[in-house]
Symmetry: C2
DNA sequence: TGGGTATGATTAAACGTTAAAGCAGGGAGC
DNA sequence: GCTCCCTGCTTTAACGTTTAATCATACCCA
């Protein structure tokens, strides 16, 4: 590993001068700068980020904590975050909070111990990460209004709900995965709030909820809105087993626009998060916080986008149903 | 940030003694150790990993480069890797090689510049990452036999192929995503090698291949083996559109056991990678390499596991077909 | 009593970098 | 000719930690 000192002794100049020449900070003559630059290039000099980190107190590393790296949204978040971070010369250290709030705290602690400059946290369902000695931005939990960046889950719910309502559905099943998840509750409350008066809705949860879907259809429901594409896929299978077809007998919607949803048959109508925007804002926010702004900034909310595909259509009319 | 020095002056002892007491290395009296320990705990002292890194030349960080963080397998790899790394007190810095070999090199370079102790690389399709100044373990490319850990893709292919053959299929379509991918080619060659003589196989690729599947079925094929669950899902949709049912008319298999495959209808027969084992071995291997073993170690291969679900069954007999 | 040694600490240096202060020399202004 | 300032470089110190070398003290044994 070639260091600043070697360049210095090579050229017969002090280490400080080399540092100044390379960073363009102090006063160095143009010729000297040139000599140092070229010698550095010759030797393939790479500054030691570690040494810089020690000196400056900044590691240039962000910690990313996710509730479960297995979350199907994680890849896209990680990718966009990593690209956005690159743009700011930041690295991303990952940690998994493995399903428990305790592990989440530990993960945060480990990252802080490693000297990360800031933390990006997608919190464990139903938890709110405790304050940390470094700036922290919370992703996707609107409840904590400060220093957070979130998709507008309620707005997304409203989007699908209006779509379904406009198609003419008035008897609707809403299916969530886990009532503990605030994100899912937000989506659902967005849905119900946007439905016109007189709409009949039933809210179901989890696997047990899935199994009750065919029954609900039999008793008159014509659409199923879920809080996740994965849930929608399960419902699709359940319906198929029951001999019901989508969208002829039942309209079906998902959430998140996961990779497989456009390959489904029929392709799934869903609501997409603008993951790129969320990641960009999050990185932006945290870099600003690291840059010294200590006062909490208001949380940002990123609109969701309705993706209409083939799994939704008008409900069967009553005439058709009882000839 | 409380440092060793503060503890030292607090107690009235030298910094070296504090360091020795805390790490248990030098000669310190038991009472002094106790005093120092308790004072450190009181102050909430956390050693500066950065300073240690500078002194020791080890950052305790591993770089993970993936071709595309959007890869559906990434979450599981990242999670297991991160847990396994935790066990060795290592952190994981992620980087995305964004689809090109050039970006892959740059990503590797950035990580090396950050001082990672080792690199874990899932190479870009069809590329072989150039040597780096730190130990590197290549994941999932059997071709590079040194310092690599890979699922036994060919073996996995053989597993499904034998399953399909045992069910009685003799006219089979094999569908790959991209012939550039060595992994996919390995899977396919494993399949074809394991099929009994006299089996009629057609190999198709990509979207165009998917669209040709119904035609192949019409001309007598009874099973479709794909190199990815996502591909299988697309085929499933295509078949549905063509009015063909799975597994009655066509047996269908995937690869990788992605999250959604058990929610499909019918639940997909597929081949699972033992991601945990791969990650563990990779971490093991790289820590050994970092620990000084400079000689290349033979690549390891981890067996795959056949997951039989509902998308495969006996082919229709000829009698049934022409009554 | 004196030399050897074990014990428990200290000092000094180092890892690679940078910020601040200092210093030598030259040119300008009066 | 004196001061003053500007330029270009050097010295010093520091970030927090570890390690090798050193040192003082007390103890043991001959």
């Amino acid at each position: 590993m070639v260091s600043i000192k070697q360049i210095a002794t090579d050229i017969g100049v002090s280490a400080a001068t080399v540092s100044n020449a390379l960073t363009g900070k102090g006063r160095v003559s143009p010729e000297m700068i040139e000599r140092i630059r070229s010698r550095a290039a010759e030797l393939g000099y790479r500054p030691s980020i570690t040494a810089r980190a020690l000196k400056s107190g900044r590691t240039g590393i962000l910690g990313l904590v996710m509730p479960d790296l297995t979350n199907p949204l994680f890849p896209r978040i990680a990718q966009t975050l990593s690209i956005a971070a690159d743009g700011h010369r930041l690295g991303i250290l990952i940690a998994d909070s493995r399903g428990s709030a305790d592990e989440q705290s530990e993960a945060l602690g480990r990252l802080v111990d490693r000297g990360v400059d800031g933390l990006l946290v997608v919190p464990q369902k139903g938890t709110s990460p405790e304050p940390q000695p470094v700036p922290m931005v919370v992703i996707n939990t609107a409840s904590d209004p400060n220093n957070s960046v979130s998709a507008d889950h309620a707005g997304g719910g409203a989007l699908v709900a209006r779509h379904i309502a406009e198609l003419g559905h008035r008897n609707i099943v809403i299916l969530g995965g886990d009532p503990i998840s605030e994100v899912q509750r937000d989506r659902i409350s967005g849905m119900t709030a946007a439905l016109p008066d007189g709409t009949n809705t039933t809210v179901l949860w989890g696997d047990e909820g899935i199994s009750r879907v065919p029954g609900e259809i039999a008793s008159g429901a014509t659409a199923v809105m879920t809080t996740s594409d994965l849930l929608a896929l399960s419902v699709r299978s359940q319906l198929m087993r029951a001999g019901l077809s989508v969208p002829e007998d039942v309209s079906l919607t998902g959430f998140d626009d996961l990779s497989f949803s456009k390959s489904m048959h029929p392709a799934l109508t869903t609501v997409a998060q603008n993951v790129e925007a969320i990641a960009d804002r999050a990185i932006d926010l945290i870099t600003r916080m690291i840059g010294g702004k200590t006062q909490p900034e208001a949380g940002e909310t990123v609109p969701m986008r309705l993706v209409v595909r083939d799994s939704t259509s008008n409900p069967k009319t009553n005439q058709e149903e009882m000839p």
